[in-house]
Amino acid sequence: MDKKIDEAQVRKVAKLARLELSEAEVEEFAGQLSAILDYVARMNELDTEGVEPLAHCLPINNVFREDIAKESLGTELTLANAPQQDGAFFKVPKILEEP
């Protein structure tokens, strides 16, 4: 049977997910994800014509609150877990090329 998702697709999805995969993982995931998607395809046995998609089960919609300014975490706490920081900023590698 054809695989639902081949290795090229796995690489493409990994790129979308910003996830670096080893060649071994690409191969493994192609097999496993295909098996899972084959199983998931059983949903097609059900006629869902006219059925509304259900995103959540709550008896509530659009929760609003008064727009009141509140204390926020503050720079120190916000940066406390940053892998790299520089003063009051998160530090990342250079994004723009030199001109």
């Binding site: 998702i5 697709q9 796995v10 999805v13 990994a14 979308l16 997910a17 910003r18 996830l19 670096e20 995969l21 993982e25 995931f29 496993q32 994800l33 098996a35 899972i36 998607l37 199983y39 998931v40 395809a41 059983r42 949903m43 097609n44 046995e45 059900l46 869902t48 059925v51 509304e52 998609p53 259900l54 995103a55 959540h56 089960c57 709550l58 008896p59 509530i60 929760v63 609150r65 975490l73 706490l77 916000t78 406390a80 877990n81 940053a82 892998p83 790299q84 998160f90 990342v92 590698p93 250079k94 994004i95």
Partner: protein
């Protein structure tokens, strides 16, 4: 325990010390905790004792040693989600459920192991440590709240809280022989619970008895302005779950879906049938119900939950917090390598699956289809509850399985969630209650389901069963060894 501490019969310090003595002895075998806080716990216990001695008012859980699943934020210690990517993460605030436990004067013993980001059914997906089942240390405790259920079963705390996205409280509770309640979606605040599948996640208690679960619910349930999906109490009031706990439900109508239950192992089915007989002897009537869409719950769940997960876990970017790769060649590699190094295999698999389900060209066929199937599944429950007060079924098709038995076959692992998953899709509450053992001495749980926001009735049903049996009093031998 709470009553004894409040009455001054036993001090909280003594109870807490006893727990840590047991942890010192048993925890090296069980591996339930990612972190423990002995010094802080005993200091807090002493403070509670002091207030009791002075006759000052104390909270509902005064002095009781309690454990927290390590996917809930605490300002003390780390909040790791059992992931390498968060191994050194110090949360800047407490989860609301944790804050409520502390406000009720509970003593936080430690934070328990889980499948990484709560993704799994055996706790084997933890990136940090291994937890075993206290009933048989070669077997899994279930998951993902396996650390919490193992800790309660092995007497390493008096109660714990876990989270349940597809069965992660109920299934490990069943496999470890303890009580586990997944409340209605929206009953307990998710603020500070690290998100996995946001429309499915719910925090709930793991305890030795239904009574303890009711007490825990009294503390953690309720609206929280910080979580817009926690339900307003004007829509669904929170009741005192202990108040009518001992009143049995009269004329109870129990719904059974025989075809669906047939998939469970023979010994599990036998224990469930025995439990149903107990309810019948108490005056309940059994009604056959038809739940035609439950067979599709796993398929829908693994699209919806992974789609939500792929979005939720995009926050681990190697920039704001968490692990960052040491030598990225460019800024893209900060993302791709940090995530590759920080996430374990199951987390990667689910991110991939969810990203695929949401990707252009596949969205309608997978994600949207799954949301429609979700509506059909909810319809099954709505129709069933027109005929009965409760639905009962197994929690897990098998008792605890062996370590490593299913790790290489993700689909097989997913299928072990068959009885628990639909409940999350429908948003209703469910409880796992111990109802027997198989011939290997492994615990079996019965799952009791009820309509949304009727946790009070659910707990009463569990309580009326517990009064007739002593399954919930059985403890694994490891406590005495």
């Amino acid at each position: 325990m709470r009553d004894k501490i409040k009455a001054g019969e036993i001090s909280s310090v003594a109870a807490t010390r006893a727990v840590f003595e047991r942890i010192a002895k048993v925890e090296p075998i069980i591996g339930a905790f990612i972190s423990t806080f002995e010094e802080q716990a005993i200091a807090r216990a002493a403070e509670v004792d002091n207030r009791i001695a002075k006759g000052e008012p104390v909270g509902q859980l005064a002095g009781v040693p309690i454990a927290i699943k390590d996917n809930m934020c605490t300002t003390f210690g780390t909040t790791t989600c059992a992931s390498k990517i968060l191994a050194n993460f110090h949360a800047p605030y407490n989860a609301t459920a944790v804050a409520k436990l502390m406000a009720a004067d509970a003593i936080i013993v430690g934070k328990t192991n889980l499948d990484e980001f709560a993704m799994g059914s055996s706790t084997e997906n933890s990136g940090l440590k291994r937890t075993v089942n206290p009933w048989d240390i070669k077997r899994v405790p279930g998951g993902s709240s396996g650390g919490s259920t193992a800790a309660v079963a092995a007497g390493l705390c008096y109660a714990a809280i876990g989270s349940d996205t597809g069965g992660s409280i109920r299934q490990p509770a069943s496999l470890c022989g303890v009580v586990g309640l997944k409340p209605t979606y929206g009953r307990v605040s998710r603020y500070g619970l690290v998100a996995y599948g946001s429309s499915l996640d719910q925090i709930g208690p793991i305890t030795q008895t239904a009574e303890d679960a009711a007490l825990m619910m009294n503390v953690i349930a309720g609206h929280d302005p910080a979580d817009s999906t926690s339900v307003d109490e004007q829509i669904a009031p929170v009741t005192d779950y202990l108040a009518k706990l001992d009143e049995p439900t009269k004329g109870l109508k129990i719904g059974i879906a025989p075809n669906f239950n047939a998939g469970a192992d023979e010994q599990v089915r036998k224990a469930i049938d025995e439990a149903l007989k107990t309810y019948k002897d108490l005056g309940a009537s059994l009604i056959e119900i038809d739940m035609p869409h439950l067979d599709y719950a796993i398929a829908a769940y693994y699209m919806i939950a992974t789609a939500e997960a792929s979005s939720n876990l995009s926050r681990y970017d190697g920039v704001h917090y968490g692990h960052r790769t040491s030598q990225p060649n460019d800024y893209i590699e900060v993302y791709t390598k940090s995530r590759a190094e920080g996430f374990g295999k199951e987390v990667k698999r689910r991110i991939m699956l969810g990203t695929y389900a949401l990707s252009s060209g596949y969205y309608d066929a997978y994600y949207l289809k799954a949301l429609k199937v979700r509506n059909l599944i909810r319809g099954d429950f709505v129709r069933a509850f027109e005929k009965c007060d409760s639905i009962m079924m197994p929690v897990s098709p098998t008792t605890a399985f062996k370590m490593g038995e299913k790790v290489d076959d993700p689909l097989k692992m997913y299928l072990s969630d068959i009885y628990t998953i639909a409940v999350n899709l429908a948003g209703i509450p469910g409880i796992s209650v111990p109802c027997g053992f198989d011939d290997k001495g492994l615990p079996i749980g019965i799952q009791i389901l009820a309509p949304a926001f009727s946790e009070d009735k659910l707990l009463r049903m569990a309580r009326m069963y517990e009064k007739q049996t002593d399954w919930h009093k059985k403890r694994p031998l490891i406590i005495d060894e």
